[in-house]
């Protein structure tokens, strides 16, 4: 077989496993999300006994409970309600806010979250854009200079910054940059409908807070992966064959350290999705995280359900995407088993 034909044959063979893998992962993700939806529904609607009384609180009159129960459709069996909700969710109908129902209004959950969703995407997106190159760069640097002062500073620095919870880092940053230095505002209240990017000064502290812990985790793992790659036989063989050090570092070490790093960076992206919850609360930023928190505080069960499900979907998809990228990076995984 000529070299070209052979190459084409190999390429052909490596496409189908990727598609197959993607198919399997999506199926797995779907199964996980299905199980998650059951969990969410059960936790929110089944556990408390009567969901309506949970919404209204302890002082509610029996009549009020009865009216709300009817409005929320609680007279139907749980299984039916579950499928109704799930079916609606898949079509974009996230249900009606329970709290609004209790007040006689008919606000849909979708209308509540459309703007906050965009705001959170901007916040998380900015953090992600900064986190990825910084993690790779600083992590690789720390590994290359392992044992030297640069490495110690980066490693201990990242260990320290990753330790504190977001609300602690956020509060300390506010104390320093607002109370102490008067440089930055303590909150990032964006009026509904406004573009958060129009007031960048407000975004600095929230983004930095989000960045703190995720960046540190990324740096540590990239460093670990790069360090391991630098110890491999093939890196030593490349050096002994006379290749320039820069080429060895990038083409032989970093290239092979990249795959495990992708998985960690994906974990960190997932973290950002979860981290917005607290960071938005600290800075009063109108994103989907603070929406969720107020929904829980107000016992807006339907909203909690649907928002939680939405966040779970994004969370899982990031994972699948990461696995796909890893597969494309490691030739070995593309072979049929």
């Amino acid at each position: 077989m000529t070299a070209l034909a052979e190459r084409r044959a190999i390429e052909r063979r490596s496409v189908s496993p990727v598609v197959g893998f993607l198919g399997r992962r999506l199926l797995g993700a779907l199964a996980a999300l299905l199980a998650a939806s059951v969990l969410i529904f059960a936790a929110v609607q089944v556990l408390p006994g009567n969901a309506a009384s949970a919404v209204l609180g302890r002082d509610a009159t029996p009549q009020a409970i009865q009216i709300l129960s009817k409005q929320m459709g609680l007279d139907r069996p749980a299984v039916t309600r579950y499928f109704d909700w799930l079916g609606g969710f898949v079509h974009g109908d996230l249900g009606v806010s329970s709290v609004a129902l209790a007040q006689g209004q008919h606000t849909t959950v979708s209308s509540l979250i459309s703007s906050p969703l965009k705001n959170s995407a901007i916040l998380a997106g900015l953090a992600a854009l900064l986190m990825i190159p910084l993690s790779l760069g600083l992590g690789a640097l720390a590994a290359i200079r392992a044992g030297k002062p640069t490495d110690h500073v980066i490693s201990i620095g990242s260990l320290v910054s990753i330790s504190a919870p977001e609300f602690v880092t956020g509060s300390l940053l506010v104390a320093l940059f607002f109370v102490g230095l008067h440089w930055l505002p303590p909150v990032a209240i964006v009026p509904p409908g406004a573009d958060p990017l129009a007031t960048p000064k407000e975004l600095i502290l929230p983004v930095v807070t989000l960045l703190f812990a995720s960046l540190a985790a990324g740096i540590r793992m990239v460093r670990a992966g790069m360090y391991e790659a630098l110890q491999t036989e093939y890196v030593q063989a490349a050096r002994l064959n006379g290749l320039a050090e820069k080429r060895v570092l990038i083409r032989y070490a970093l290239r092979n350290a990249l795959a495990p790093s992708v998985q960690v960076l994906a974990q960190n992206l997932q973290y950002l999705v979860g981290g917005v919850i607290v960071v938005e609360t600290v800075f009063a930023y109108p994103g989907i995280g603070s929406q969720l928190v107020s929904a829980v505080q107000n016992r807006d069960l339907t909203a909690v359900q649907s928002i939680a499900m939405l966040i779970a979907v994004v969370y899982v998809l990031i994972n699948v995407l990461a696995d796909l990228i890893v597969m494309l990076l490691i030739p070995k995984l593309r072979e049929p088993a």
């Binding site: 089944v46 201990i156 330790s163 109370v179 919850i277």
Partner: protein, 283 residues
């Protein structure tokens, strides 16, 4: 064996253990040293540091220092309980899944993987939304969040050890699985598990503190450090100590645990990778 205590001699290990001890002392001995009751109003709200109140007063006029000294117990206690429960569940699942070569392994792991669909805090919030706020919900919820990660690590370690000669020799002698697991496997998976404990405990603290900060955990007038931060946040420009002091305590606690954990890991020749604190996904 002295090897285990080697980590104390590294600078990060010594500092880690040092500050950890300090924080633990404050948390558990603090209440006996507090000058005032944590709920007593001793002066004007949000007044600055004075002889009467070295850290000033909070937004209700209570002594920040006293509340600080009382505030550690619940944070650490809840986190410890949750971690212990998580290890109980996680190790059992991990050992069984790792040792079994039958269909039990994938079934257990798939079940556990369901938790991978949730950002940890999200799961806890959903649980609280449904069942209300209580200590039990927090402890059980955090334990459920931690267990899958622990079971993964234990499973991997068990799989690695299960194929070693000495384990196979025991199997060839006809020893029953529980005996093999306890005598031959468990003592040899302690190293990776030990490294893991620090990470999980820190994570427990973070989540418990975060939930309390969001107002969905312990209720006022509880003097929990996280609650202190959330209560006094809006007034930070009036008495920044009321926020910074508890924030610093939490930060120092978690930094201490992580430094110690990192030093222990290094002395065992392993890496301490806190990326696992942020998610249920682990190696």
């Amino acid at each position: 064996m002295t090897g285990r205590l080697r980590f104390l001699r590294t600078p990060s290990g010594a500092i880690g253990i040092g500050i950890l001890t300090c924080v633990l002392l404050v948390a558990f001995v603090g209440p006996y040293l507090a000058p005032h009751s944590p709920t007593a109003v001793i002066g004007a709200p949000l007044s600055g540091a004075s002889g009467h109140a070295p850290l000033g007063t909070d937004f209700l006029g209570r002594d920040v220092l006293s509340r600080l000294l009382y505030g550690g117990r619940s944070v650490i206690g809840l986190a410890l309980a949750a971690t212990a429960l998580a290890y109980l569940i996680g190790m059992t699942i991990g050992l069984i899944a790792g040792y079994s070569r039958s269909v039990v392994d994938p079934i257990l792991m798939r079940t556990v993987d369901v938790m991978l669909a949730f950002p940890p805090l999200l799961f806890l919030l959903v649980l609280i939304a449904g069942t209300g706020q209580s200590r039990t919900v927090m402890v059980v919820g955090v334990a459920i969040i931690l267990a899958p990660g622990i079971s993964r690590i234990v499973r991997t370690a068990t799989q690695e050890v299960a194929v070693r000669g000495y384990v196979e020799a025991a199997v060839a002698r006809g020893e029953r699985p529980p005996a093999v697991l306890l005598r031959e496997v468990v003592p040899n998976i302690l190293a990776p598990v030990l490294v893991d404990v620090g990470l999980r405990f820190t994570f427990s603290i973070l989540i418990v503190a975060s939930v309390n900060f969001l107002g969905l955990g312990l209720q006022p007038p509880s003097s929990n450090w996280a609650v202190m931060i959330s209560e006094n946040r809006q007034y930070i420009s009036l008495n920044w100590l009321s926020v910074v002091a508890p924030a610093a305590m939490i930060a120092i606690l978690t930094i201490g645990v992580n430094l110690t954990g990192d030093a222990i890991a290094r002395s065992l020749g392993r890496s301490y990778t806190p990326s696992t604190t942020r998610g249920v996904v682990t190696a």
